[in-house]
């Protein structure tokens, strides 16, 4: 029962992730990423200051000081990587579930290690995709933008997975997966 419940939850989560990553949706603030802009329910507030939470992608783009064209290109790159990594991220959730199952079932150290190794394997693949996407974005940078490029990789994780609690990735670098 426990397993069935969690598997269902995982599938639902994966669907939500897929919606977020399909075409860059959920990353840019014009794409429904933050605060429901464009919903017709908050744009005519009579001049009241609107506090928009920056999306993880915007934080990433700001860190790299991307111009408009670079931002568009980066959005495409990250969107493609998201699509490519979707099944892997689902596997990652399954691997995490397997770890929980092993712990709940009192698995031996060896068996627990197997589940951890499986997690490492999938996680490395996801991070590998992140590195490729990041390298593509870096390739578009001008020399004066390259100085802080390395620190922006930390933020890539925030682009790939929703954070815990569905809070919208407020800190950018918090990856939902580990």
């Amino acid at each position: 029962m426990f397993i069935r419940l969690l598997l269902t939850a995982m599938m639902a989560t994966a669907l939500a992730f897929a919606q977020g990553g399909g075409a860059g949706g959920g990353m840019g603030d014009d794409m429904g990423g933050t605060g429901g802009r464009g919903s017709g329910m908050g744009d005519d507030t009579g001049g009241m200051p609107r506090m928009q939470r920056q999306s993880p992608f915007d934080i990433f783009a700001d860190r790299l000081k991307l111009n408009k064209d670079q931002k568009t290109e980066a959005l495409t790159v990250v969107g493609d990587a998201l699509k490519e990594s979707a099944p892997l991220r689902q596997q990652l959730m399954q691997a995490k579930l397997d770890i929980a199952k092993a712990m709940l079932g009192g698995a031996s150290t060896d068996d627990l290690k197997k589940t951890m190794d499986a997690y490492i394997s999938v996680d490395a693949q996801v991070t590998g995709l992140e590195t490729k996407a990041f390298a593509k974005v870096c390739a578009t940078l001008k020399p004066n933008q390259q100085g802080k490029a390395a620190s922006a990789f930390e933020l890539m994780a925030g682009l790939f997975i929703a954070p815990a609690g569905g809070a919208g990735g407020r800190s950018g670098g918090r990856r939902g997966r580990n």
Partner: protein, 151 residues
Amino acid sequence: MFFRLLLAGILAASLASAQRGGGGKGASNTPIMMSTQPDKLGMITDALKLNKDQKKMVKTVLDDGQKEAAPLRDEAIKSRQAIGEAISAGKSQAEIDQLVKSQAAIDSQMAGLEMRAFVKIYQGLDADQQPRAQMLFQMMNGIFKNKSWNE
């Protein structure tokens, strides 16, 4: 019937999650500057209908997990910085792959901590609360990546 209800709940949660940060905030007339997002402990308490003792237990488990995760968190930050530097410096793919492997090992340890905390909490739930633990499972994802799990 129970399963159908659960599916409906998950679907609703997924939609809210897909809106990213909507959480009902953008769809109401509440003042925009006002933060209405409850803390995680509050969310867990509400979702699982925890009693006072269980709430205390959850807080203790997650506080302990956070402490244990602190060095890993620092390692993960350094590791990702190293990967970023390697990429921006044009290092070889073999070097990058090695760093990625190290990063994945750190991530798996963090996943282990998350799942250990999850299992502890799960085991402290009553039988009628356990079917709702899927929400907790989702929340555990990256919960120790922040300085405070409850922010």
